[in-house]
């Protein structure tokens, strides 16, 4: 999960995987993805028990909101492998 100067720079990266063409995310969307409510509470004494468990649902809801609904982003099994 990296930041690149542009998509072209990412594609020139020797480790770039062809499958990851669907792995680009605009910076504002990325910032939003890592700014869901639970993230605001990482320094609270009960973060691990009270806030961290909410993270997965928040992430999924956010990804669906920005249209990243493929298994690659949601972490669900690929259709082809079912």
């Amino acid at each position: 999960m990296n930041l690149f100067r542009s998509e072209e720079h990412a594609r020139r990266w020797p480790a770039f995987l062809p499958r990851s063409e669907e792995g680009f995310i605009a910076l504002p969307d990325l910032v939003g993805f890592f700014a869901t409510e639970s993230r605001h509470h990482m320094l609270e004494p009960d973060y691990l028990s009270a806030w961290y468990p909410r993270r997965a649902a928040e992430r999924r809801a956010y990804l669906e909101r920005i249209g990243k609904t493929a298994p690659f982003w949601l972490g669900t099994p690929d259709e082809a492998r079912r």
Partner: protein
């Protein structure tokens, strides 16, 4: 399994230690403040990491390597706050959430582009981007999320 409040307490001390000093405390340092024996603190650390699987210990050790959004092991994502560069982000994505650990402060992320080595710079304050150079900076996920991809989530 330990009392969840004790896990919360250790988690909080690790995160607070990272924010305050740039490094995660060792479990032996946390034992006495938490009222535990050193061995029980070590066991508790493993419980904390199991409950927070987006972080990890260095393989076959009890050393914290990654405790996102920050990393105890240096990465290319250098974090500067208040003129001090003592932190590292776990990855480029987690770097964008370091801002939530430093309220009302400007958080600067500097990293070399993995393609060309030229700089990527991002500044944020309270969750908002205040500066980005170059303007075309983009996030890239090389391996998809989830166990079906079978690769470490940090790549």
């Amino acid at each position: 399994m330990t009392d969840p409040q004790l896990r919360d307490a250790m988690f909080h001390r690790i995160m607070r230690g990272l924010v305050d000093t740039g490094r995660a405390p060792h479990y032996a340092e946390l034992a006495r403040p938490l009222g535990l024996s050193v061995e029980n603190a070590r066991l508790l650390l493993h419980e904390v990491m199991q409950a927070y699987p987006i972080g990890w210990l260095h393989p076959e050790t009890d050393y914290i390597a990654s405790f996102p959004p920050l990393n105890n092991l240096p990465t290319q994502y250098r974090v500067t706050v208040g003129g001090r560069q003592i932190w590292f982000a776990q990855c480029g994505f987690e770097a964008t959430s370091v801002t939530w650990l430093f309220p009302s402060q400007t958080v600067r992320i500097d990293a070399p582009c993995l393609d060309c080595g030229d700089p990527v710079t991002l500044e944020m304050r309270d969750g908002s981007i205040t500066r980005v150079e170059p303007a075309g900076v983009i996030g890239h996920l090389n391996f998809g999320f989830g166990p079906s991809r079978g690769r470490p989530a940090f790549l």
